[in-house]
Structure formats: C-alpha cells, structure tokens
Symmetry: C2
Subunit: 259 residues, 2 copies
DNA sequence: CGGTATTTTGAGTATCGTCAAGGCCAGTGG
DNA sequence: CCACTGGCCTTGACGATACTCAAAATACCG
C-alpha cells in the first residue's frame, strides 16, 4: 500500500527550510527531524489509499501530490494538490476520504504517527502550525469551489492559473520570471487538470487555446504557460478576491530572486 | 455591520444540547454559557461581511446560515452552509474570506472573541472541538468539490440530497420519516441552491423534474422532497463514497425517533 | 531517429444558460 | 370571503457551451 521508504540520515531532511516550520523552537525542530523519515515517491505512486488510517504524518518537501477520489464508475476527481510545505495524513486519527498519489516525482518527510502526536502535545507552536495548515487547506478548498462554480472553462482555467500564482508562487519551478514575463509551469498533466476542474482534457485544451487567442497567455509548451495579461486573466476568472490576492510585485520579487 | 443582538439570560442558550459540546467538562461548559450571547437573525440578514475580522465566535443553534462570496460582477456563490452545531467566525484571528448570511431565520450563540480565546487556552477539550469542527468543514468543502465536479445537474442535485442526508440527518426538520419514506426539507431556496451548485434556478428546477420523472424522488413541495429510490439517487450522484456514507438504517432510526 | 503517450483539432450531439412567459402560493386589503 | 399583488418556482424556445468520438499533430523518451 505504501511505498517502501528510502531512508536517509535524518539530518538530511532539511525541515528548517520549510517556511511554516522555520519558526518552531529549536528543540522541537530537532525532535521533528529525529522522527523524520525521508520517502521518495515516483509519479503515479500511491502514498495513501482512501479508507486507510495513515500510519504517518507527511510533509511534502519536493514535487507535487494530488488528493483524489475514485468514483464508482472509475472516474477520478482531484480535490486538491499538495506541494512543498503542505502536510497530510490526518493528524487526528481518522480514515482518509481520499487517495494521495504522487503527481510528479516527489520527496516526502514522514513522521511516525505516535512520535508526531507526542510532539504535538509538547509543543503548542507545532499544534498551531498544524491548525494553520488545516485552515489553509480549508481556504484553498473554498477557492476551488468558487472556481468550479464557474461554468465557462476559460474562467475555471484563469482561476486555476491565478491560484497557482498565489498559492504556489514560492514553490520552485512553478512560477518563474522570464524577460519580465511570468511563466507558469503546470505541475500536472491535462488529464489531471481536467479532473481537477471538472472537465475533459479536450475542453481544457480548447480553453487554453481560447485564452491564448484572447491574448491572455502564451502557450510555450503544453505545461509551460506565459502570462501576458494578468488583469485580463483576473477578469476572466470573474472573482475579485482571488485576483486581488495575487500580489504581482510580490510574485515578481520571488521570481526574480530565483532568476 | 452586525445585527444588534437580542440578549437573553445566558442560562437560556442551551449549549449542552449541542452534541459536539455535550462532552466538555462541566466547568468549561458553564464558562462558555456565561460568555454566550444569543443572537437572533432574520433570513437574509448579514452576520459577517467579507473582510471583517469577526468580533465574536459563533455557534449555530437553530436555522441555517450560508457562507458566500460575492463576485466582481455581483453574482454570489455559496461555499457552504452552517447548521445547528456548526461554529464560525475565525478562531485564529484572520479576516474572513466570505460573507455569512442567514439563509433562514436563525438563532446563533455568540462568544466574545477574547473570552473564547481564554477558554480555548484553558481547555484542550474545547480546542479539540474547534479543530474537529474545522476538519469537518474541510471534509464538507471537499464533498462539495466532488459534487461540483459533476457536469450534469441531476448528478449534482443527487449528490446534494445525499449530503443533506448524511450531514444534516441529525438536524431537526431537515430529514424526516413519513410512512416509511424519507422526506428532505431543503433549507434554502432555489436561487441559493443554484448558487451552491453552480447553476441557474431554472436548471435546478429542470433537474428536480428529471429526477422525479426518473422515479428517484417525489416533489411534494418545492422545498419538500420525498426520496423514492435511494440507490438510484446514489447511482446518479456517481460517487460511491458519499452514497456509502449514507447509513440508511441510522437515518431511519433518527427520523423515527422524531416521528 | 522511431515509438509511445500526450495533446490538439474537428464534427456532431447533448446539456445548460438566457430570456420571456406562465403558474403557484402566501399575505394583504377590500 | 374573495380578488389582488408580489415573490418564488416552473416551463418553453433558442443560442451558447461543453461533451463524445475519432483522427491528426505534437512532445517526450530511449
């Protein structure tokens, strides 16, 4: 069920590099690192099955995981993406409602459930991080709902791109800066994107073409998109809030630092 | 911004009747009741505006509130419903991302933010209740996502009805038993339902008619629906999990107790 | 360079949104 | 008690949009 983990020296897991965890007390961070196993998963591998009670708490270090639900008729729906810094594996013992699969090759920090719970009891700071993580996911889920409520594919795509910019701006290799333009590397393929946005791959493709024809984006490659008209994209998405949450300057500074 | 509250004797707020809170230590419960104001809101009234940092933590006692987002073009999307026992008003100080409005006449328990935070620090049990509430909401948001991902209106409606049965089974006047049949009283009107399911009221109406013609349901009144074919409804919804989560026996026992 | 998977395009059909009109119900006032 | 009014729900006709199926083009990988 779970990929046989590739163990490494715990010192190598680099937890302090994760922004959310950086501010924890040194002692707690040390114990966290001690309880951490590094697991490498290949794209397509399942980390947790639906209905499992996960035997560890995970924290994504690299790559992208998808939370998905397999319907009775075999179709799959993605309910969220997990990227660097996101935690998963129900902290408060309960069976998972979704599978967790690697969307790309990924590196995950795994904390044994028991050890993590102990740490949680000892550190209100860690507990706070966990709660903020859950609240964060709740907000994201609601963002997806708003996006999904949009009937036009182009609007959903525009919303998706904006969310990528806001949520994933700080994640390497997702948003980059090129000649003063913003490039987005979409971390999942068309089929997954279709599942995420409640559409078919063909419609996704047509939606991208429509956005390109409208001058909003430039399709450099299927998974590499250059944003030409940010405001236009925000207008297409229809939602003022998501758009306003995109701090363009902030975005650019991040991208530039990386360039 | 916030409705002028109707104050009552704190002893009348009846918090112990809320299942989630019933197991709290008596002392905490007492302090909670002491910090509680009872607020009555009429259908359509706004409890919190988007962007507000709510000045109290709320707990629904009666009725139904909707969490909604108003888009740039004036359209509204509902991202969730709050019913008896649900808590709202961000506990961890942060501006709200959506408005909270009364969908029906409602009664809300309001706890001053400061007092609630103090209690939270004193009672890990209360904190646990709050966390479980958030996790619960996350699950619900994901359920909505799955439902919204469905392209056919009838499927979304079927999913909605099933969620109503699972999530709201214990809420008075939502699910009832009549002559061995299950009746669902939909707590919101067509327009709100349309906003919730990402459709137009006309499409909702047509969807209900289609379900009725297929023999799944009987439309007793616009907001009162008799379920004739539970399994068929589950098949329409397309999602195995939501369907399986409906424990029909459990549902019936609840309904019968009330009858 | 070839083979495979992914993505894109095209044509036809089903579904939903839009606009407009009609029906139902409740509350109001004669 | 009944007619009237307003809000909500439903129905109908038409246009827009996305889905289905099939095929071609492109990207990816060895």
């Amino acid at each position: 069920m779970t990929k046989e983990p590739t163990r490494r020296a715990s010192g190598a897991c680099g937890l302090p590099a994760i922004p959310q965890l950086a501010d924890l007390p040194p002692g707690i961070l040390q114990d966290l690192e001690a309880a951490c196993r590094v697991i490498r998963v290949e794209a397509g591998q399942t980390v947790f099955h639906a209905g499992d009670t996960p035997e560890f708490v995970g924290c994504v270090r690299e790559g992208c995981l998808r939370m998905q639900k397999t319907l009775a008729d075999g179709r799959q729906h993605i309910v969220g993406l997990l990227v660097e810094g996101d935690m998963f594996g129900r902290v408060h013992e309960a069976p998972l409602h979704f599978e967790i699969e690697a969307a790309t090759d990924a590196v995950v920090c795994a904390f044994r459930h028991r050890a993590f719970e102990d740490l949680l009891l000892r550190s209100p700071e860690l507990e706070r991080v966990v709660i903020l993580n859950i609240i964060n996911e709740l907000d994201r889920a609601r963002d997806w709902m708003i996006i999904l409520s949009n009937q036009k594919i182009t609007a959903r795509l525009a919303g998706f791109l904006l969310v990528l910019c806001t949520r994933f701006a700080e994640i390497d290799h997702v948003v980059a800066m090129e000649n003063g333009q913003i490039d987005i590397r979409i971390p999942i393929n068309r089929a997954d994107l279709a599942h995420l946005l409640g559409a078919r791959p063909e419609s996704i493709s047509r939606g991208f073409q429509a956005l390109a024809k409208a001058g909003r984006i430039d399709l450099l490659r299927p998974n590499l998109i250059r944003v030409l008209d940010f405001d236009g994209l925000a207008a297409d998405a229809g939602d003022g809030e998501i758009a306003s949450r995109v701090n363009l300057q902030h975005l650019i500074s991040h991208a530039r630092r990386r360039a």
